[in-house]
Symmetry: C2
Subunit: 346 residues, 2 copies
Amino acid sequence: MQRKIVLIGCGVVGQGFLEILVKKKELLANKFDFEPVLVGVADMMKGSILAQDGIDIPAFLEHVKAKGTVHDFPVESAIVGLNSIDILKQAEADIMVEVTYTDIKTGEPASSHIRTAFEKGMCVATTNKGPITLHFKELVDLAKKNNVLFKYEGVVMSGTPIFDLLDYCLAVNDIHEIKGILNGTTNFMLTKMEDENMSYQDALALAQKLGYAEADPTADVEGFDALAKVIILSNVVLGGSLKPSDAKERIGISGITIEDIQKAKSEGMRYKLIGSTKLENGQIIASVKPVKLPLSDPLAGVGGAVNALTFKTDLSGDITILGPGAGKLETGFAIMIDVINMHQEM
Amino acid sequence: MQRKIVLIGCGVVGQGFLEILVKKKELLANKFDFEPVLVGVADMMKGSILAQDGIDIPAFLEHVKAKGTVHDFPVESAIVGLNSIDILKQAEADIMVEVTYTDIKTGEPASSHIRTAFEKGMCVATTNKGPITLHFKELVDLAKKNNVLFKYEGVVMSGTPIFDLLDYCLAVNDIHEIKGILNGTTNFMLTKMEDENMSYQDALALAQKLGYAEADPTADVEGFDALAKVIILSNVVLGGSLKPSDAKERIGISGITIEDIQKAKSEGMRYKLIGSTKLENGQIIASVKPVKLPLSDPLAGVGGAVNALTFKTDLSGDITILGPGAGKLETGFAIMIDVINMHQEM
């Protein structure tokens, strides 16, 4: 079955998704009866193209990789130069894929893209933390009102299953607490500090050199990135309406010294930057802070840039999932699984 | 929507499932539009009852717990004393829940129950390793032929999601290797030997005292239990047709001494009984054996009676899930999630 897709954002994640569509074309057709038709692409830096009859995906992907542009991909009767909102207004699509750059303060332009798509009757798959952190309830209601589906597996731990795990595999359970390692950069640094006796500064420099940490590492090392994910989990899974400023604590790892880590090690413990949220007496308590874990805690064994979450459930006990929290194919996969699940449910 | 259920096997798992139906009655009705009607129960030791108009589940559960019998639960116009196959032949049910005792050598009586249910047009949820180990392909084909659903989430790691994780959350991925800790008893023993310097014999005695290990611990300590799960994963996930005797190796932990464990510890390594299966040059290589893992391996951090599996995927990297591998509610939940997913898909 053909499904028309409009792609807003054609950076790493958008291209990762298109790569999977190319790589898995036969499997998607044979196993899922899914045939993607790409009808439009808009990217703030690379330009836009609208072609209702469909864009040749492998050729387009090659073009974008070679030239870094979208608008000049040759398609007969294509319309170029529209802005992203006009692309959405004019595109006849079943699904919008929203993978623009995350602005955690305004949620824009992603939130406007999502609202426009819903009003046009499109289902939406996104990996953009902005809209989910800031406008989750409004957007869920708007999707319902327009009778469309809304999926966002990639906003926490990229393609490692979190929301699908809860919805499809752990439904019926009551989840009362979630805690985990939600920032790969800081986990990488803590692992290096413990295993190789590296100082905080050296570990940070290495993380920057390897591309894990930004030139300004504040969002990672001070816990803001992990906190955004904790707020999303609080609102999506525990039913809260929290803003980041509602968190009880947000403490990063910049105060952790190699002496702290070695002392913990000598006690059979290990420091991890733990994001957690729990329901207590009807209130949601969310926090991010370094925690000294006993080595018997499954989260203590999570090394390197890996992410992990433990869900405390009433029927299934403690369920922990570990996996990548970033990556081109990994995050592209988050869109892929959302699209395939929506395809089967729409 | 009413769904008629016939329950074959009313031991720990069957009662765990019924407990969840009682505990979650409102959630099941409101969130999933699911109203269970229990039309029949058969248990080899406790007797049987067939009551097409439905059995009061909370009262029945109380009766079974108090008296240890099924056939004398008072229901007007109930038929008692039928054997399990006749119950299935006469019951008008949408779903059979098969949770009889596992016989890994013959797969009976579970396999006959499942065949009979399929031929009667019932969907089947089971936690019974016997039929899945011995007759997986035949049963999948028979389900297809009869246009019914067949789910078995609980046969590996009880209610911790494995097959649902792959089907609903990691679909589109190519899985080429699976490895994990599939026996809680031996993992508990290895953890005690390392953490408390306990001898193999003392650790085994403790596991027996706590009810983790049987009086005859062979199935656990010699790796037979883990191997059955490896064979299931080989056949269900990797598409093989292996019998347990096709495994490359099956080595248990009875040869592991406290000296081995302490030596590994001094090298920064840890012994785990690892079950693994992988596709190599078109061949499936399955094994169970003690492996010295670096502490950076997510499986090294799995302590106590917890189970864990790592899936090596082509798009999502390494995904590891940890959770209980046994337990009344945990295994009852495996049936619950199968039943709810079938309810939504039938």
